[in-house]
Symmetry: C2
Subunit: 334 residues, 2 copies
């Protein structure tokens, strides 16, 4: 079953979102935004007392329904639900709820901003720039401008330098051609350009950056395939063999983001779970961002790779309301 | 009198165009698109026989009316008026008519493409990227994708290299913050960054490119003003004193495009007219692009600077139907 919802945003654009069975989110077909808003208000008045109803409501509302709740909340209480939540973030649970309630583009703007300011999580910026289609990426840029009064590329450029800057700025500002046409000759030439950059041949990076930041995804995938044919190994494997500075890490994330977002995300959650102490930020990011998109596929990929159910792994690594909320978004009520 | 027209484009976006008394175009408030289409059909069937009615119709229709005519033409003759014109371009007159009939974003896409392929007219790319507001620039990028099945930045990057490439790609992919907020401290620091780049201090270009490709126009103008306060001369004058390679020419055009599009365009037409043999491409480009925007201001600036009426200068340098058409767009029937 495929449902298309067209959302009208305040900043003059339309996004067609695709909700499909790849999602894990379980949302009822009807609900009362007013009643939801009132129930949330009550729950927020005593954070720590009624997380259950927060999870019960927000954990079962899709992006359109959450927008309706936000509108109803504003009408009844003259207060922005998102701003309210923003001021209440204490622990992982509140953070996850706050991330979740944001519209996808706005959420990515927040994620990108936090990453840029951290000065080290640039892979999140690369993820946003490569996993999305051109219109989605544009929506993130608009949301970023709207929220921070600066452009996404402005903040990226101000926090980086050299080839890393060139690559990141090129990725976030791209507006690629979407189509199936491939130029096999280009794939051949540009596979070699990438090969030289991977081997850190001096002066080769700029051309590799040009290729990765301007070609269509279909063309890039053809180029990566050509690379494997020529060199007998994938470009990502080759990249892992050669060192791993920030630039090469960004290259690696970009190529994985272009090629196979499901596998990319599976690796993100796998690493998050494997990590001593668990990387909650990464876990929350993937679950919240993909729950109404393709989290079912990511979950299947996880099982295939690790022989452990994703929801079991999540349940083992988390606790309390945070755990309940993530599992709800995963479509598994305990 | 200000008239706002909202145009819906086929590729899912809306543009609010602002028609004001800065325009020179004289268009009737009502017309019959069907009759216009039929009259044009007749005239096209004998190019060289009835240019007068082509000028009489198209020289007096605004962007919305031209779209209506294009639609009517397609309905009646099952043929795209623009494609038809495209195939008939022989001389300056046909070229000007063809440029004129395109929607502004599509026209800019064509102008940019021709400039990129020429390998030398990159100032036209810079002009498009700096004179427009962020939404207009985005519309050009969409039109470019739509028309050429490649992105604007893809073609720019493939035809340039080094700092010139970085600057041009950064300019065409920018999506700047629009607002009045200024950071005076940044203006101070970044005026010095620009100064070092103008003086061709080694390694200073990348930071100058970052500033010019990411900051808001308001912030950039504050930076240029700060530059003049510190150095007692404008940054553009300083640029003219130092050499003039392609990179510096692009810098120069960008700064003028940001600061004062009217003065910028005045200089373009002044140079076009001064040139031995006249630069018809430049003359056509400015008149056709600005006739329903701010050509009256450009014309006034021309008179102020040259003590010659712009329409007289145009009349002197051109002839035949081409001359008649340009003068019609200038609001001056002979």
């Amino acid at each position: 079953m495929d449902i298309f919802i067209t959302t009208y945003h305040s900043y003059h654009y339309r996004v067609k979102r695709h909700f499909s069975t790849m999602a894990t989110l379980v949302a009822p077909s009807n609900h009362s935004p007013q009643e939801d808003a009132e129930a949330l208000r009550k729950a927020f008045e005593g954070w720590g007392t009624d997380e259950k109803s927060i999870i019960g409501i927000l954990g079962h509302r899709n992006v359109y329904q959450r927008q309706q709740i936000r509108k109803a909340y504003e009408e009844i209480y003259q207060e922005d639900l998102v701003k309210r939540l923003e001021s209440e973030i204490k622990a992982e649970f509140e953070k996850a709820v706050y991330r979740w309630i944001l519209e996808p583009a706005d959420r990515d703007a927040v994620l990108a901003n936090v990453a840029i300011k951290s000065g080290k999580n640039f892979h999140i910026v690369v993820e946003i720039a490569t996993v999305h289609n051109p219109e989605e990426l544009l929506a993130v840029r608009r949301a970023y401008l709207h929220r921070y009064k600066r452009s996404l590329e402005e903040d990226v450029a101000a926090h980086t330098s050299g080839h890393l800057r060139q690559l990141l700025v090129g990725l976030v500002t791209s507006y690629r051609y979407v189509g199936d046409e491939i130029n096999p000759k280009l794939a051949q030439t540009e596979a070699e350009i990438l090969h030289e950059a991977v081997k850190e041949k001096k002066g080769s990076q700029e051309e590799a950056i040009r290729v990765l930041t301007t070609r269509s995804k279909t063309q890039l995938i053809a180029t990566f395939n050509r690379y494997r044919e020529i060199h007998g190994t994938s470009i990502t494997k080759k990249l892992l063999e050669e060192g791993s500075d920030e630039f090469q890490n960004a290259l690696y994330t970009a190529i994985r983001g272009f090629t196979d977002p499901i596998k990319y995300y599976e690796k993100v959650v796998r690493n998050a779970i494997k990590k001593l102490g668990t990387d909650e930020d990464a876990l929350t990011r993937v679950i919240v961002s993909r729950a109404e998109k393709d989290l079912k596929f990511i979950s299947e990929a996880y099982y295939k790779r690790n022989s452990v159910l994703f929801e079991h792994a999540v349940a083992k690594e988390t606790s309390g309301d945070y755990k309940k909320f993530l599992l709800t978004l995963l479509g598994t009520e305990e």
